[in-house]
Amino acid sequence: MILNRENAVIELKDQTIKEYGGIEFQEIAFAQKINLRGNSNNKSFMTLQGKLLDAVLPTKSNTYTNNGKIKILWLGPNEWLIVDEDKKNNELFLKLEKSDSHEESAITDVSENRTIIRIRGKKIFNLLAKFLVIDLDKNLSNDSSVVQTLFVKVPIILVRNNSNVVEIDLYVNRSHANYVYNLLVDGTKNLDF
């Protein structure tokens, strides 16, 4: 018996890339995401996790680290999101969880809490400016930027990717994905102001 996976955004089934008003839309549906809670002042915790992940847990707010394979997003003083786009791999989670003391830290598989809508194109800031109150130039200035904020009224995480064309990943709850996607597409109608 085989169970097939379903992505969240109806219009973006099977990794299709859609283009509206010069902006590309793609869903990164099945990336591994692990929520990591722990005390950032606890040296041993930080180093242990760092070793296991062979990456550094960012302590600087609104940033992420990237070791070429996985990203680690800063979500709060004691909270991180580990993202691995390689969907097959889930031993990472098991490995981390095994190592966890379950005393004051927590490792939780949240791969499916949120999906990732990836948008690419010159005018994506014009598009996002219709829905986001934050100063995009300031908050998404470079390729280590992460920002948690509201997309209209939907909680969202924005990650600026390291790429030649501007590319942003929008982490949205699965249940919100279609609402957010449809808004974005509707927003591509007038991108010049």
């Binding site: 609104n62 003083p77 109150v133 948690q148």
Partner: protein, 117 residues
């Protein structure tokens, strides 16, 4: 519409936060020994200050951390921010002159300047 400087994420729109009301009201440690009045006091009674107020805010749409804010409720100026568990900071500056503090002329409130010690 005002901005709040989240101690973790930086300055953000107030709409990203939710207000937890007056700060430094801690839950009685010995509920069974409290009178109905004392319980009502903890549950409901508030200073509801006009002027400099100490209150709790949560960056609910950001890092989800709680912290304390010093705000002049008559002008919505934010005068200071400090962490949960920290003692009340000293605030220096005048409250609105009269209880109401509305200006004798012009719209809106008189601007009052404060500095956190």
């Amino acid at each position: 519409m005002f901005l709040i400087n989240c101690p973790y994420c930086g300055e953000r729109e107030q709409s990203e936060f939710s207000c937890g009301g007056e700060a430094h009201i801690s839950r009685p440690k010995n509920p069974p020994d409290t009178s109905d009045d004392q319980w009502a006091d903890y549950l409901f009674m508030r200073k509801n200050i006009k002027g400099v107020q100490f209150e709790r805010w949560n960056h609910s749409s950001g890092c989800r951390q709680w912290f304390n804010v010093v705000r002049n409720t008559s002008t919505d100026e934010i005068l200071g921010i400090y962490n949960m568990g920290e003692a009340i900071p000293e605030i220096d500056g005048e409250n609105p002159k009269t209880p109401s503090g509305e200006p004798e002329i012009g719209s809106g409130n008189i601007s009052t300047s404060f500095k956190k010690k």
